[in-house]
Symmetry: C2
Subunit: 398 residues, 2 copies
Amino acid sequence: MDTELIGEPFIPQRTLLGPGPSNVNPRVLQAMLSPLLGYLDPDFLKLMDDVSAMLRQVFQTRNALTFAVSGTGSAGMESGFCNLLEPGDVVVIAVNGFFGERMSDIARRQGADVYRVDSPWGQPIDTDAVRQEMKKHPAVKMLAAVHAETSTGVLQPLDELSQIAKEYDSLLLLDAVTSLAGSPLNIDEIGVDFCFSATQKCLGAPPGLSPVTASEKAVAAMLNRTNPSRSWYLDLSLLFDYWANNRRYHHTAPMSMVYGLREALRMILEEGLENRLNRHTRNADALWAGLESIGLEFVVSREYRLNQLTSVYIPEGVVDTDVRRALLYDYGIEIGGGLGEFAGKVWRFGLMGESSKDINVLALLSALEAVLPTHGYEVGRGVAVQAASTSFANNRSN
Amino acid sequence: MDTELIGEPFIPQRTLLGPGPSNVNPRVLQAMLSPLLGYLDPDFLKLMDDVSAMLRQVFQTRNALTFAVSGTGSAGMESGFCNLLEPGDVVVIAVNGFFGERMSDIARRQGADVYRVDSPWGQPIDTDAVRQEMKKHPAVKMLAAVHAETSTGVLQPLDELSQIAKEYDSLLLLDAVTSLAGSPLNIDEIGVDFCFSATQKCLGAPPGLSPVTASEKAVAAMLNRTNPSRSWYLDLSLLFDYWANNRRYHHTAPMSMVYGLREALRMILEEGLENRLNRHTRNADALWAGLESIGLEFVVSREYRLNQLTSVYIPEGVVDTDVRRALLYDYGIEIGGGLGEFAGKVWRFGLMGESSKDINVLALLSALEAVLPTHGYEVGRGVAVQAASTSFANNRSN
């Protein structure tokens, strides 16, 4: 076979305002440049401890099992199901979007008896229906839900779900991929038994790791299994041994990613979790004011709308991909298209982590004002930017 | 919970001469600094194509399914077993070290009927015993072996295994974590059906991705499954759709790692695969001359010894961890300890990828000459370095 040389990469600078990855601060990339260490080097083990300690602060938990799985958010999702469910276990999964469906798929692959409770996309979970389903079974091992549905932009209130899980003595599993460090989430106070997230959304690091945390009850469930987890790579009892207990080798940790996550977590704690949430709120307010001013219709009502991810219906007559392509190539802005039943029907605007900036809000609205009229949707020039600016000004004076 | 700030990381520069990770070239780290792109950004998809194309050159294959799984080498290992085996399938696994054992563990978790054929650690696989085992079963779905056993340093000859797999119409799965780009390996010529590797050994990138390749026969086996793979995250049919077919979203690719792997592959092809293998041979020769000159005993006979990983027995009376600690803290050199039944009994010296350098050979031998005598093993000062220098000189004049 002849050798064919491939040239330098072309990697343009994008403003990432879709469903993730979001932009990362140069400090985080810089940290990833640090030299590699052995996976049992005492200096690396110390950095792992730092990551666990900071993740506990961000998850707001005292859970001993708190670390980052060596895969993207979906690996963290799978780790929850493959460690907590055994074949034949009953799991009730609340589905109101693409990622609830993914959870159902993953749970089925563990041999669990999966009962889906579906709510319409764009709306919160129907907790009455969840309660009805829970009642039907003599024992429900786990109740699973998505905190921030990235496919729709719904923020799920957690009190009622937590109450139901407690009533039925079920483990509560929560997908916090898009919510962690972008929406309020207190794992211990709510009583979440297993939670997973991802680095590339509101945490502000590149994709590649999935922070997870498990309550004592969840750890007991995984240690008391009849058979080992169907995944060795995602076996949390083995990973717990490596991250926190006897430091037994499991796999070669992706240290560059760990360096990046560590720096991103440092930046979150320096900013302060509350300040960070307020920043996400302030920028969302301005974006919404702008989108509203040009008549775009929100998928999610204000009460349940995520600050870090806003979905709008694509106006009639406008070709989804034409607009997204123009934003990408003419303005260097990435927004998200729809997933699953929302494909071709909605756009998703993300303002997550480092991407949640006032200048990004203004840039996105300016670009939409320029692009939409040439693709069949009239917009008064400057209207959206003006509305956003007013929102910023009002929030500043508060 | 009070916020507790954590400071700048302490990340020393190590010379990584253990079982991996190996050092990476600054060009690779530099590439990882490139801005993030969306997981469906056309400019990112192009980079993925480049990675697949270059991996084909390194694996020496025309396999369409050739890409990098978003996890470390063990994730690639698991992807092979969870996609190719279904519950009840018979798999024969040749075990002559720690990673053969890991394969058996992973295969069992897929519900397969696992038949281990054990050979002593430090020796190649007993292919007669493998043949005997294959004969016992009406059908063997897969024969699995490790090409380069990282726990022992054995390079497994492949012709006979390939012959056996063909005779019994079994899929041949090969662990090439430590061998790819360090030992000769021609996937198509040998007839390997599934092969996985890792980025942090001879490929010269940080850990975090696992290159895999699958033959048409293997792809057919995974597409014709009765039930989906037990892992969704590692479902190769879904990953194939994302990497090569209809570009359907699966997970958010860890693009920084992809950038790094792409640059590492570029460097391999610029050097030339054959030149690279020769470099590994030349440096191993010199290391062996040095180790031999001070009387250290090799675990593996020369015929089966890996160029990129050399195991020696720890001399009697010498405390394993004392020596490794002295090398690490006084000389900044990491070597590997033993795994499994070799724990505390052997040291493993890696010269992989960017770490396979003449100056590293000389530095390691100098450090051993300085450290061993203070830990109970007499070494004539300068002897090992002299032997290695002579080896380098002889190889240069060839």
